[in-house]
Every structure is written in structure tokens, then in C-alpha cells.
């Protein structure tokens, strides 16, 4: 006999921008479908941000974050985690328990133009080169 207990969780999914460009709403539905497939009740799901990643993940320098709040049985988390890891659109996922859903999660999602996502295939902008300090040291010819 297993203990059935429903709790509220928060899941931050990092989505592949190549999939996001194909359409935001179908991708969002596909990801939230993973939760509902395991019997979870979606409380809120909204785009958190689109930003540059701290390090490249699967060759991607940028990614879109989807923040999902849901209530699910503790036993179903293993299946949710596994399906998120199998999903090719989800680069990373972080599933943590949360005491209560913040009010900001229920605010309507801002309009999101997938065509406005900057391309990350382009190399990163070179950092500004600092002005040379002092006189450059001339190479002295080596004595034979």
C-alpha cells in the first residue's frame, strides 16, 4: 500500500528555442501535457523569460523558460521527471516543491513574438578590447 499525498510543485522548464520558433502555444501545450498525462492538475503555466544561458546546453546559447505550477501526487513525480527528460524540446527541467503559488503566476501571460527571439547561432559579440596601457614592448632581436 502506497501513501497517496497531493502537493503543490513548481517546475521550471528550459525549452529549446528551435522548437519555440515553430510555435509557442503548441509547444507549451505539449509540455503541460506531460504533467496532465500523469494526473497532475495545472495551476498555472506561463513563460518566465527568454534569455541567454550561462553556458551552452546542447549547442544552444539562448533558451526560453516555462514556469509551471501544478498539484500532483507525490508518486507521480518520477514519471513526470522521466518524461520531461525524454522530451527533446526540454533542455533542462527543475522540479521543486512550493508551499503556495505566488499571485504573479496567475497574471496573464505577456504577448510573445517567437520571431523576435535573437538568433543564437550567430557568434557572441566580441568583448570590447581594452585600450593598450603603456608603450608596447619592442621585441629585441636575439643575438646569434
Amino acid at each position: 500500500m502506497t501513501l497517496q499525498r497531493t502537493r503543490t510543485y513548481e517546475c521550471m522548464c528550459l525549452l529549446d528555442n528551435r522548437e519555440v520558433r515553430k510555435g509557442w502555444q503548441p509547444l507549451k501545450d505539449a509540455v503541460t501535457g506531460v504533467f496532465t498525462k500523469h494526473g497532475a492538475k495545472i495551476l498555472s503555466s506561463r513563460r518566465w523569460d527568454e534569455r541567454r544561458l550561462a553556458y551552452a546546453i546542447r549547442g544552444q546559447q539562448r533558451g526560453t523558460y516555462l514556469l509551471v505550477y501544478f498539484a500532483a501526487d507525490t508518486q507521480s513525480l518520477t514519471g513526470i521527471r522521466r518524461d520531461l527528460q525524454f522530451n527533446e524540446s526540454v533542455l533542462r527541467d527543475l522540479l521543486v516543491e512550493c508551499a503556495e503559488v505566488p499571485q504573479t503566476a496567475y497574471e496573464p501571460e505577456a504577448a510573445f513574438d517567437v520571431n523576435a527571439i535573437p538568433a543564437d547561432d550567430a557568434p557572441a559579440a566580441p568583448e570590447p578590447v581594452a585600450a593598450p596601457q603603456g608603450e608596447p614592448v619592442a621585441e629585441t632581436p636575439t643575438e646569434a
Binding site: L14, A54, I57, G63, L91
Partner: protein
Amino acid sequence: MSNMMQSNGGPGGRDGGRDGGRRSKFGRFGARRREVLPEEPLEYKNVAYLSKFVSANGRIQSRKRTGFSGQNQRKLAEAIKHARLIGLLPFVGRM
């Protein structure tokens, strides 16, 4: 020359010092250290605030530097580690 050969250990140094390597609960003049409270919530989404407690090499600052209580320092470390996992903070180096 003989001075250069001496150990650089002192109070709070790596060689132990007066409290034998253990961190004292008291400051230099005997006053108890004042606990620093976090100004913002210590959660992984608060990247701008968390990055203040990460060194240029990406390491989490010690409790001695942050001044947090043990509970808040653990929350800080967990939040930074969560942020690293989903690509919000680097494991090594700066953003």
C-alpha cells in the same frame, strides 16, 4: 631572509591561529558577529541577487563573507545550485 621563512599564519589564518582552525563565533574584539539578513528572497529565479554571492570563478561565497545565518547560507547555496542546473548561473567563471 629569516623573516621570509616564517609561517604566515595568524588569527583566522590557514595555520590555525588562536582558535585552532575553528571559526570563532566572536569577532576580533570579542563582540558577537552580527547576522546579516538577506535583502531579497533566496530563490533560484532571483539571479541578479544570487550572482552577488558568486565569485568571479563561479564559487559560492563563504558564510564568513556573506554574514548569513547557517539556515540562510544553506538556502543560498541550494538556490545557486538550482540556478546552475537550469543554466541561469555558471558552474565556472562569470556570465
